[in-house]
Every structure is written in C-alpha cells, then in structure tokens.
Amino acid sequence: MNETVVDCRDRSTREINREIRGLIAGGCLQIRVTEPEARHNLGVALLHPASVHFEGSVGYYCAGMSDQAHVEVSGSAGWGLAECMLGGSVVVRGSAGSGAAASIRGGTVVVHGDVGARAGCAMKGGTLIVGGNSGYMTGFMGQKGTIIVCGDAGAALGDSMYETEIYVGGSICELGNDAVIAEPTAQELADLHAALTQHGFHAGRHWKKVLSGRKLWNFDRTEALWREAL
C-alpha cells in the first residue's frame, strides 16, 4: 500500500492537520508523519479508516475526537491522548501523560508504557490498555468501557465510577471512593487474555477486577452524614 509522508517541520499545526485530512479524503490510507516534535493537537478529528503513524512524540490531545482511524505514535504522548474518541484505535509505544483515553465512547487506546493521572476518566465505552503503570485516579467517574493495567495502579483507583470495569495485573496502591475488588469470571479472563494477546502483551498474571460498589449511585438519606445534616 502506498504511504504518504507529511513533514511537520516549519509548518503550523493547522496546516499539518489539514494536509492529513486532505490526504485521507483523497483516498490515501497510509500516512507517515515525521518530526512531530511533541506538538499539540496533531491528528485530531480523523473520521475515516486510515492509518496515521507519528514518527516521534506527540503533545496534547493527539487523535482526539477521532473515529475509525488507526493512529500510532512511536514516541510518547502528552495529556488528553485520544480524548473523546468515538472509535478506531490509538497505539503509543512510549508513555502517555494525564487524561489518556478520557471520555472515549468507543475504540481501543493502547499505551505500551505508563499513563499519568486520571487515565480513562469519564469513559463512556471502548478499551484502554496500559502496558506499564497507571497514575492517580485512573478510571475516575467512568461510565462504561474497560481499562486494563498490566502494571501497578496508582492511588484512588476507580473513584466514583458507574459501570467502567478495571483489570489490574500488578498492585493497587489504593482504591477510590466506592470502588470494590471482585473476582473476574472465566469468560472475562478469556476476553482479557484475547485483548492483551492481540496487542502483543503477556497476559499471565493474577488479575484483579475493580468495579463500582454502587453506593454512590443514589442519594441515601440514611447515611450518617445526611442524618445529621437534614
């Protein structure tokens, strides 16, 4: 398949994104972006099934609001990786900053290294796979979707979640408010292993599943705090 190269040097972010989108609209399905130099907002709102490979690191919000595209980053990514993504996939070979896969509705985000704080916060679907460790408050207020952390999870894991499910292969520093640990079923483990194997991760760990305890879902006037206040 023909590959087209987009060079970021001496060009504005808007020019780079316009060229990427123009190439995809013209039928180009394989794009290699060189010298991204960790600049922000690259490859946002890509709405067609093309493959875009960033050679190097990207800054904030890379692949945000995208759908159907496959984005690969050979370096690391800044804050808000794939934020609000609807579908498609994003693979980062290095690490990602805070807010990776925040508010995604679908698709898969894979980070081979570590992710920063609030990874997968307010997810409404999709899957986030982290090869390394995840930071503070991973999964905060997650509504749906799955987060898989192969390494260790930071403090306040799964705080105030709705129905996001988190699987952790390493240690858990501390559970967040209303997060509870459950034993994964055989089917869930099989799905987990399939997802990890597909992305080249070793799946042989003792996995812990973290989900909402559902105590924060509804107002409870019998709770001690409210008994005093009301």
Binding site: R39, H40, S57, D114, A117, R118
Partner: protein
C-alpha cells in the same frame, strides 16, 4: 498555566550552554505564559557575592544606581564592581559580605511597593534575569543564550492572581538565602494562611505572587538544618493546591510534583544532562530526539547533583 524548565549539565564544568538550552525551552513554552519570562542561571562560584538589584520600572534609573552604590558604601559595604543593564544593577561585593546588611541597606532606599528598589538575586553562583515580555524579549535585552554555566531554571508566566511586573515574574530568589531559586507552575491554595504565619514571625514578602512562598518555605527549612531534598519532601504535604516546582542551588537541580498530578511535568535524563519541562515539546525543540522523556507520577520529587562538588565553595 505557566511554563517551567530546568537544565543541568551533570559534569558541572561550568561550560555548558545553559542559557541557550533554557532559551529554546522557554521559547517552546511561550504560549503557556505570555506575560513574562525569566531565568536563574548558575555557574561556577564567583570570587564575589553577586547581587542583581531591580532599580525600578520607570524613572531615572541611572541616579538610582548611583544611590544604591552610595548607600552600600555608606554602610561600609564597598562594591568591587557595579554595572547597570536596563532596570538592573549588577553589583559584585567581597564574598564574605553579610547579606542582611546588604538587604537592609537596599531596602531602606525606597518604600515597599511596585517600583521599589529590590534585591532580585544574591549569591556566588546564581544570577536571575526576568522581565515582562516573551523569551525573545528577554534574549534581546540580556543575551541569555550566550551564558554558559552548570545549570539553570526558567519560567514563562501567565498571570492569574497578581500583577504583571518584573518583581512578580519568576524565577524567585529565596530572599535572604544565597544561591537558592525556584520556579513554579500552579497555585498554592494555602498561600494566604502560610503567609500570615510567616509574617507574624517577621518574614517579609516582596510580592503578592503565591509562588514566592515556596522559596521562603524552603529557605526556612534549610535554615533549620534540613537539606534540599528533606525540605522539598515536606513541601509535598505542607503546600496545598496544584504545583510543579523546580528548585536550584549550586550544583543541584530538583523538582517536586503535587500528589494530585494537577500540573504537567516531563523529565528526560541522559548520561550528560538532565532536563525538565512542563511540556515535552520544550525538551524536543531544545535537545532533539535521541532520548526518552516521561511524566513522573504525583507526589514525586527528584534531586540531581553535578558530579563536581560546588556546595562547599558557595
């Protein structure tokens, strides 16, 4: 939102292009802080105690410079060298000159306020230059890219709660502590409480910028006998709010990051150097591609030292 950057040449030879690396990093971080820019540059220990004094923002600065030198002389503090550059007077004094006497002589010249004569930095290794404007403006005014040294820290400021002028710009020298400088990105939310406590103990503040309190906090703990790492570790608990800050002393560069990861910071290390910046784009534009960079987790601090011991001399 502000941008902070730090660079340390591990060899400590004093010949690293610290000024030009910091300038490139600050230029990349210019969008995070268009209000002001500044650097704290560290070199090998000078034979003098070097002061950088803000003469004022407006008015007859040449006369004020003469007044400063005369006042120091009147207090028996003879300047080895005095040189004016824009709003700054750079004064070299004998190395053992007592800093409190210098400070009180300078502060007696004008009433406290936005256009007061103010000691911006003091030390044998440290010099701070900062001003309102962009990193490019800082470069054209002071040619910081031509400065070599051991390490340095820099800042681009977006003002949120205090005024935009030279004094409120960063880096901040930890007033009264030679050769200690700090840059901060974030908001110290217990600033007013801490400030009230410190002011009751007689400590003077020179600005209304919450970032100023970090240098004062560290300086007080160092005075109690703690080392920089111990002082910074305590700050992770004692400071509330969002912060990533860098602190620098002779031969030492360090950062601390708040427990909630509310502010970004990216770190890169090679055998030859250490670089820290708010965004990776600064590291890439200043230092290229041939290294890995990563964001440390919250409640983290790191302290790096040059291999050449400088502390004893400072």
């Amino acid at each position: 939102m502000c941008g902070i950057a730090g660079y340390l040449d591990r060899s400590g030879s004093g010949e690293a292009p610290v000024g030009s690396v910091l300038l490139r990093m600050l230029t990349a971080l210019g969008d995070r802080g268009p209000d002001s820019a500044g650097v704290a540059l560290f070199g090998e220990p000078s034979q003098s105690l070097v002061l950088r004094i803000k003469l004022g923002e407006v008015g007859d600065l040449a006369s004020r410079a003469e007044l400063v030198v005369a006042r120091l002389g009147g207090e028996g503090i003879g300047a080895v060298q005095a040189e004016r550059s824009g709003p700054y007077l750079r004064v070299a004094l004998p190395p053992n000159t007592p800093l409190p006497a210098v400070t009180s002589a300078i502060e007696s010249l004008t009433p406290p306020g936005s256009d007061a004569v103010e000691l911006i930095s003091a030390g044998r290794c440290l010099e701070i230059v900062k001003q309102v404007g962009s990193p490019a403006d800082l470069e054209s005014a002071y040619r910081i890219s031509e400065t070599c040294g051991t390490h340095g820290i820099g800042h681009t400021r977006l003002s949120t709660e205090s005024r935009v002028d030279l004094s409120h710009s960063q880096p901040f020298w930890a007033h009264g502590v030679p050769d200690l400088a700090v840059v901060h990105n974030g908001h110290v939310t217990n600033y007013h409480r801490l400030r009230r406590i410190y002011e009751q103990r007689g400590i003077r503040f020179y600005t209304e910028n919450d970032s100023e309190i970090i240098g004062i906090y560290l300086g007080l703990r160092l005075a109690r006998g703690e080392n920089l790492e111990e002082a910074m570790r305590a700050s992770l608990t004692d400071l509330d709010g969002s912060f990533c800050y860098l602190a620098a002393m002779p031969g030492v560069l360090a950062f601390a990051k708040d427990p909630y990861c509310l502010k970004p910071l990216v770190v890169a290390e090679t055998q030859g150097w250490v670089a820290v910046a708010t965004e990776e784009v600064a590291l890439r534009q200043a230092l290229g591609h041939h290294f890995r960079a990563s964001e440390p987790p919250g409640r983290t601090l790191r302290v790096w030292e040059t291999t050449m011991p400088l502390l004893a001399a400072a």
